[in-house]
C-alpha cells in the first residue's frame, strides 16, 4: 500500500512534468530559466527527503545512502545556481516546478508519519521511483529543450550521478525486501 502511495505521488509528478508538453493547446515550451528551476526543485526535494532519512532511518545503509543524496544533490544544485548567476538567469517557477515541489512536500509529510523498517522501505521505494522519473524527465524533456550549452552540459553531467543513485537505491531495495 505504501509503495502504491509512493508510486502514485511520483507518477503524478511525472504526469505534471509531461502534461505541460502534451496539452493540445500547445503551451509555450519550457525556457531555460524554467528548466533551471525544475532542476533546482528536483534536487531540493531529494535533499529534503535525504535530511529526513539521515535522521529517521533505522538501517545504517539507508542513512549512508541518504547522506549521499544530500551531498550529491546539494553539489548539483550549487553548480546549477552558480551557472544561473553567471548567465544572469533567474530560475523561473512553472506549473511543473510547483507541482514537483508540492508532490515532494506530500511525500515528506507521509514519511514523517512513519518509523522503523516501514520508514526505511517507503523512503527507499520512493527514491527508486523518484530517480527513475527524474532521469526520464531530464533525458526526454529538459535536455532536448535546453538552449544554453552550459546548462545543457550540466544536465548531461547529472545523468551518470542520478543513474548511480537509482542503482544504489535498487540495491538497497533488494536488501530491505527481506
Amino acid at each position: 500500500m505504501l509503495k502504491t502511495i509512493a508510486l502514485t505521488i511520483t507518477c503524478a509528478a511525472l504526469a505534471a512534468f509531461t502534461s505541460a508538453q502534451a496539452q493540445s493547446s500547445s503551451p509555450p515550451p519550457l525556457n531555460d530559466a524554467q528548466i533551471a528551476m525544475i532542476a533546482v526543485v528536483a534536487n531540493t526535494v531529494d535533499v529534503d527527503a535525504g535530511k529526513l532519512a539521515a535522521d529517521k532511518a533505522s538501517s545504517k545503509e539507508v542513512k549512508d545512502f541518504a547522506q549521499t543524496m544530500i551531498r550529491d544533490h546539494t553539489a548539483v544544485n550549487a553548480k546549477a545556481t552558480a551557472l544561473a548567476k553567471k548567465l544572469n538567469m533567474t530560475p523561473e517557477e512553472s506549473a511543473t516546478s510547483r507541482s514537483l515541489k508540492a508532490d515532494g512536500d506530500k511525500m515528506l509529510a507521509k514519511l514523517k508519519g512513519m518509523s522503523g523498517a516501514e520508514f526505511d522501505k517507503a523512503y527507499v521505494d520512493n527514491e527508486v521511483a523518484y530517480h527513475d522519473a527524474v532521469i526520464g524527465v531530464v533525458t526526454k524533456t529538459l535536455i532536448p529543450n535546453t538552449k544554453n550549452v552550459e546548462l545543457k552540459s550540466l544536465l548531461e553531467s547529472a545523468g551518470p550521478i542520478f543513474t548511480a543513485h537509482l542503482e544504489h537505491a535498487k540495491q538497497l531495495q533488494k536488501t530491505l525486501k527481506k
Partner: protein, 119 residues
C-alpha cells in the same frame, strides 16, 4: 647518463688497481637500481561516477593520486587506506609501501569499485 658514467669509470679504471673497477661497477649498479626503483606517481581519474582505470599495477613505494573530476565528492577506501571525502577538483595521494592486491570502493557510491595491485 649511464653511458657517460660507464665511459668515466672505464677511463679511470685503466690506471687503477684491479679492486677499483669492482667498486665502480658497484657504484654503477647502485645508481641503476636507484633509478629503476625511483617512485612513480600514477593517476586514477574519478570521472562520471567511475574510477579510471579500475585496475592499476604499481611497484612498492609508488604513489597513486586520485583526481576527482566529478561535481560530487567521492572517496577511495580500502581496509588499509581511506582518502576521506575528496571534493570536486581535489586530489588525494597514497604511497603503497606493501605488496599485495588492494581492492577499494567509493564509500559514498558503493557500486564504484576498483583495485590497486602492488608488486
Amino acid at each position: 647518463m649511464l653511458a657517460i658514467l660507464f665511459g668515466a669509470f672505464s677511463f679511470t679504471s685503466c690506471s687503477k688497481p684491479t679492486s677499483e673497477p669492482t667498486s665502480s661497477d658497484d657504484n654503477k649498479t647502485e645508481r641503476a637500481t636507484a633509478e629503476r626503483s625511483a617512485p612513480a606517481a600514477v593517476t586514477v581519474l574519478i570521472r562520471n561516477m567511475k574510477f579510471e582505470p579500475t585496475a592499476i599495477e604499481v611497484k612498492k613505494g609508488d604513489i597513486v593520486e586520485w583526481k576527482n573530476e566529478d561535481i560530487t565528492p567521492h572517496t577511495a577506501t580500502a581496509s588499509s587506506f581511506d582518502s576521506g571525502s575528496i571534493g570536486p577538483e581535489k586530489s588525494w595521494r597514497h604511497t603503497f609501501t606493501e605488496a599485495g592486491n588492494f581492492p577499494y570502493i567509493c564509500t559514498f557510491h558503493p557500486a564504484m569499485k576498483a583495485a590497486v595491485n602492488v608488486k
